[in-house]
């Protein structure tokens, strides 16, 4: 009959209005409003004792002004900004710079005549990544043979000036070392989560790390 289709449409919309399983906005960004009950639950106490302990927050929440941070956690494999760079592993081979489709990585190492000691010959003078033009494809991370460069997991690198978006080597040294598990199966095998687990040192992020004596002997034997 004419009109049943319209009624069916109305039923579908009503279902989406009413059923909680259809309501997906679970996370808001960067923060969301929270009421008094939510605040009390978060601090683990009941409403009355929370009001006594933090009267200002309680009043703010009743007026609808209290906010709490709310960010949906990303998957550990997320290709974020904020590269994790381990200088101790980097040899300045510039495979990442060569593999970048946009050519935004600039690497300058010390000239071989300048450094006297062997360990200083691969010192890095300049290591710039311009995330203003980077597309976070991760090919540089894929190219690095020494697992020195990893993708990060943040995405809040907004800035007011384009020049600030160029990560020079000091910034890369200072950045928190939370490598994403993108193209790093050894991190994934350990179940590392850059959001919840702590920072990783340079010993822990490599593929072939500190082989045991037996493994070393086996490798020599296979040659």
């Amino acid at each position: 009959m004419y009109g049943t289709g319209l009624a069916k449409g109305l039923a579908v919309t009503l279902k989406n209005l009413v059923l909680p399983s259809r309501f997906f906005t679970l996370h808001q960004y960067p923060d969301r409003r929270i009421g008094l009950l939510g605040l009390a639950k978060m601090s683990g106490t009941n409403v009355v004792s929370y009001t006594f302990k933090n009267p200002r927050e309680a009043v703010k929440s009743l007026l609808g002004l209290a906010v709490v941070e709310d960010r949906e956690p990303r998957h550990p494999r997320f290709r974020g900004q904020e590269f994790s760079f381990y200088e101790q592993r980097c040899t300045g081979c510039a495979s990442c710079a060569k593999y970048c489709p946009l050519g935004i990585i600039k690497i300058v190492t010390t000239r071989s005549g300048d450094a006297m000691q062997e360990g200083e010959k691969y010192g890095l003078e300049v290591f710039d990544i311009d995330i203003g033009r980077c597309m976070f494809c991760g090919l540089c991370v894929e190219a690095c043979p020494y697992d020195a460069l990893h993708m990060g997991s943040g995405f809040e690198e907004g800035n007011y000036q384009r020049q600030e978006l160029v990560f020079d080597i000091d910034r890369l040294r200072r950045a928190p070392k939370r490598p994403s598990t993108w193209f790093r199966p050894q991190l994934e095998a350990r179940g590392y989560d850059p959001e919840t687990d702590g920072e990783l040192g340079w010993h822990d992020v490599g593929r072939h790390e500190r082989p045991t004596t037996e493994e070393q002997a086996e490798r020599w034997a296979r040659r």
């Binding site: 004419y2 109305l10 919309t13 209005l17 609808g64």
Partner: protein, 395 residues
Amino acid sequence: MLDFLSVLDFFKDNLPDPLDRLAYPIAGMTLAMIVINAVVMSTALYTWFERRVLGRFQSRRGPNRWGPFGLLQPMADVVKLLAKEDIIPDTADKPAFTIAPILLLVPMFLVFAVIPFGADSFLGRLNVGVLFILGVTGVSTLAIFMAGWASRNKYAMFGAIRAVAMLISYEVPMALAVTGVVVLAGSMSLLGIVGAQSVPYFLVQPLGFFVFMTAAAAEMSRAPFDMIEAESELGGGYITEYAGMKFGILQLAEFMAPLATAAVATVLFLGGTSGFDPIPGQLWFLAKAFALVFLMLWVRATWPRLRVDQIMGFAWKALLPLALLNMFVVAIELVVLQDSDTGAITRGDLWAMAAVNWVIAVVAIVITANVLGQRRLRPETPVPSPLANMAAEAD
């Protein structure tokens, strides 16, 4: 309580002597202020409600940043519109351009002036309330055309012409549906109609209710008849040249329309303030109006819009015959069932009418739908215009 006469007495008693003669205008202005403020505030609240409920229909939240639950969002909108520059096009007709939004808004207030919100609470006691409402809503049609014409913009005028064509087409079925109610109630006064509804008229005249709600939805340009908003995809619309607070007033009028329609429909079809005793009549009125408003929102969230020619076809080919049928059936039933001495209708008579009318309504809608539907779904081969070769020559 909020009756004009009681307020007038209050002022007459309490004002000192020489100002006595001003009691009449002062009483009127006080009540008008109260009503206007109440209506505008409830429209602002309605914009918040609509955005949140529509958001919830669409699995998202509506406004929720300003104020608890986003209740200050209308305030933020008003501040934004006030802060904008009021642009009037150079070639526009300035007086008409400025008056058009006001002319669109004032009829809504006038409609609210005659609606009985309670047994004694209303502003204007008119014997011909229904006629007043129908007449006053016609002025908003004029205002829309004025807005489009005064803009001196080709596309705005196209949009305005189309909007006016749609609006005047839908006034006819609306008036005829209301006629059915008036005939049954025996009076045009809104208070009288509320009193005569021992059985609510949407049960007694389902066809009339359906026609009225559909025609009213088209009058307000709400889905599925909101081609005026769709117009802005291609041809502009009558609000193209409006900016700043003038645009704000136009939006206010657009959001006040559902409230006014819900109020009028509650009075005419749902029984107004009647309800079970412990709950006061005003609350019943609000609950019924709220139900109608929610229904309109639900329809807006669900159905796509019809094309212009389909809208006009629907008005003249479907709604008009149904409204006429409703009027004839009600009149015939009235003659048959009416008590020949007193001319009164008993409750039992109304229920009998309800039973018959529901059957007639369903049959009529099915027949109309099948007859029209076949024609609509039949393939339409497009006819190329004789001017189709123009581009080839220009190449």
